[in-house]
Subunit: 97 residues, 2 copies
Amino acid sequence: MPELESEIQEFKQAIARNDLENMREEYGDMLWDALFIGIIAEEKGLFSIRDAIQEAHAKLRRRKPWVFGNEKVKTPEEAVKRWNEIKADEKKAKSRH
Amino acid sequence: MPELESEIQEFKQAIARNDLENMREEYGDMLWDALFIGIIAEEKGLFSIRDAIQEAHAKLRRRKPWVFGNEKVKTPEEAVKRWNEIKADEKKAKSRH
């Protein structure tokens, strides 16, 4: 985890310097570190990377019905409002279990 | 970027609480945020995610010849030493360009 956090700092520094080559390098390092954390978690039997990705994907689809569903929103503010409403509903439903 | 950093904090908190379900959720959020950063970078024409991943992969292969090549190391310390030697050689070669 400290490795991932330090790669993020290096990536931010590359952005600040506007160093395209280094940005690409640090972004790649960052992704690999994030993946390694998942592999370690899998080896420890904590969760599977596939499940984590699918769950996050499903959450995204649920919370952005104006992108993935039939809902319409007119402004970014309205979109944020809908996101928060759906999130609150999900939390409520979860706490009933 | 702040979103990614806050997801990492939430993931660490889930680990601290030993909350498996939340660990999986926050890890997934973390990966998606990391991916979105790459997509934004691609849209801005800064670099491609594919190039970044391939570059990091090639670097890993170069720097761990005891895993991917024919070299032998006897201890973790020796492995770290080789990694640092190769890294230093690469930096030297780069600065000659």
